[in-house]
């Protein structure tokens, strides 16, 4: 079967969730990648290590306008004869995959967390992480949007051939006036390690210790909803049922009670560590490791101990 994977490379780099989507595609069939923007051929050829045989790149398209990307991907589907198109269920995938599904009359599975099973059904996240569903696609063509960090990625070897790919994309109806880069380089939705703080940390001035711990770990920072609502932390850090849903390898929660809406967004994390003064905090029921104690005391100690560990290894 022929598979096409669209990845966003506007940053000039290939993000981990993009490699993951490519490798996922290569396990379904022979995989071509399509992307756009100013990214070097050398960088793109590395996708061979994740199972891509060919990469089509449209350098002229430098925005993430979903109308134009949809046209680009549709043209690539036509030229490769792909039957399955894979996206990462990231911010670009969320906008483009539904459009492409309509254009190609190809059923869309979004939020996939596994490869199609023997019946061709795809397991997805539903009820904000509280359950899984198995989706059957009735159309012959399929679009699958893969949840970041769901199947993981293991580099192999090989190089992909890179080809320029032109398509008639029409004029964009959207004008980009300003781009604001998020501070810190580890993006929360794709982060493998996350340190998160709740209302128990009392105020924004106390986030230094959270950032210090995140720094020694190489982790992204996150927070509970009230913390973002009061403005202690930016909205994009809010995790939970009405925020970002994440599935890192490690989630450290300090001063968060573990309300059901918070858990919904984080309980797919592989290992959860909870630090809370209240032994009755509901979060301990969802935790793998717990410390009943004061975050102001425990977090700096944890940072020191991890520094020691890193120094030894």
């Amino acid at each position: 079967m022929s598979v096409l994977v669209y990845i966003d490379t506007l940053s000039g780099k290939i993000a981990k969730n993009a490699m993951e989507a490519v490798q996922y595609g290569s396990k379904i069939g022979s995989t071509t990648v399509v992307t756009n923007g100013d990214i070097s051929e050398g960088e793109l050829s590395k996708l061979g290590a994740y199972g891509a045989s060919k990469v089509l790149v449209n350098k002229a398209l430098k925005s993430n306008d979903s109308e134009q990307i949809t046209k680009l991907v549709a043209k690539a589907v036509e030229s490769t004869g792909a039957e399955t198109v894979v996206f990462s269920h990231d911010l670009v995938g969320r906008a483009v995959a539904p459009r492409l599904s309509v254009l190609l009359n190809a059923g869309l599975v979004s939020g996939a967390v596994a490869l199609p099973n023997d019946n061709g059904q795809v397991k997805v996240n539903v009820f904000s992480g509280k359950a899984y569903g198995f989706v059957n696609v009735k159309t012959s063509k399929k679009v699958i949007a893969l949840t970041p960090n769901s199947v993981g990625v293991v580099p192999g070897s090989g190089e992909a051939s890179v080809e320029a790919f032109d398509a008639d994309l029409g004029a964009s109806k959207i004008t980009v006036k300003e781009i604001k880069k998020q501070e810190g380089d580890i993006l929360l939705p794709e982060a493998e390690l996350v340190v998160s703080g709740g209302r128990g940390l009392k105020g924004p001035e106390n986030w230094g210790m959270i950032e210090d711990l995140a720094k020694v770990l190489g982790a992204a920072t996150a927070c509970s909803r009230p913390v973002a609502d009061i403005g202690w932390r930016p909205h994009h850090e809010h995790v939970g049922q009405t925020g970002v849903a994440i599935r890192p390898n490690l989630y450290i929660a300090a001063g968060i009670s573990g309300a059901i809406q918070h858990l919904a967004g984080v309980n797919a994390s592989k290992v959860i560590v909870v630090i809370n003064t209240d032994p009755e905090a509901p979060f301990f029921k969802a935790a793998d490791y717990g410390i009943v104690g004061d975050a102001f005391d425990v977090i700096p100690k944890l940072t020191e101990e991890i520094k020691k560990l890193k120094a030894e290894n």
Binding site: S66, G107, G129, Q261
Partner: protein
């Protein structure tokens, strides 16, 4: 400005999720339903603010059965002018988007607003599909929206940050956190909602492209291992040697 806001029913966020009929259907017994938070807090409230500032109208649309009428009345109580319900079970995202697009085509709106996703299916599918069906631009995950005449200026979440974009109506937008503040309906709104028009229209012919076959619950976690607050080194050792994640 004529605004159309998509409203979906969702289980209350505290609901216990389980399934019936051999795990093929969500078990609604004892579940309280709410307006999907993204639809209500962000899409609907921002649409109402725009109407209050610039005039126009706010219509809500829901694809669903008569059981959805109570959450539709809630949207009317918050301030929508009128509501439409396409009388059909929402088979899948495509079926739902198709119904909404048909209504939007027939009635002409300046903007169609959806929430970022529903909290039951988390698909983020409807908005983009409607945009494609209407052949309009789609702004996904908008966190701020200002109008000046027919020109919209929007803050949009993108990979690694955000961008400010501008475009002309008509377009489709999905609303995320930051757009507006939740509004609690007052008594007058609730009274008025009872008599506001709720039009029920038949569904247009459309085949769903996907279906949910079965559901399952995540495996239960094993019990939490407690570490003494005075022995943080042990936690680090467990994370390193036992869990092997640092």
């Amino acid at each position: 400005m004529k605004l159309l806001v998509c409203i979906s029913k969702a289980p209350d966020t505290t609901s216990k999720i389980d399934f019936k009929d051999n795990n093929t259907e969500f078990n609604e017994a004892g579940v309280q339903f709410i307006v999907n938070p993204y639809d209500e807090w962000y899409a609907l409230v921002r649409a109402l603010e725009l109407k209050e500032a610039n005039g126009g109208s706010v219509t809500t649309i829901t694809v669903g059965t008569a059981e959805d009428d109570s959450i539709i009345r809630k949207a009317l109580a918050i301030g929508a002018d009128n509501a439409v319900r396409v009388d059909a079970k929402a088979e899948d995202a495509y079926f739902t988007a198709f119904q909404i697009a048909e209504y939007a085509k027939a009635n002409g709106f300046d903007m169609v607003l959806t929430g970022k996703e529903t909290i039951n299916f988390n698909g983020s599918q409807i908005g983009g599909m409607i945009a494609q069906l209407l052949d309009q631009p789609f702004v996904s995950l908008a966190t701020k929206l200002e109008m000046s005449g027919n020109t919209a200026t929007i803050d949009q979440e993108i990979v690694g940050g955000s961008e400010i974009i501008s475009l002309e109506t008509p377009f489709v937008l999905s609303a995320a956190k930051g757009m507006a503040e939740q509004r609690i309906p007052n008594m007058r709104g609730i009274m008025a909602a009872r008599t506001k028009p709720l039009e029920v229209i038949p569904a247009a012919a459309c085949d769903a492209m996907t279906s949910f076959e079965t559901f399952e619950l995540p495996e239960a976690k094993s019990a939490c291992k407690y570490v003494d607050a005075d022995n943080v080194a042990e936690l680090v050792s467990l994370l390193h040697n036992e869990a092997k994640i640092i």
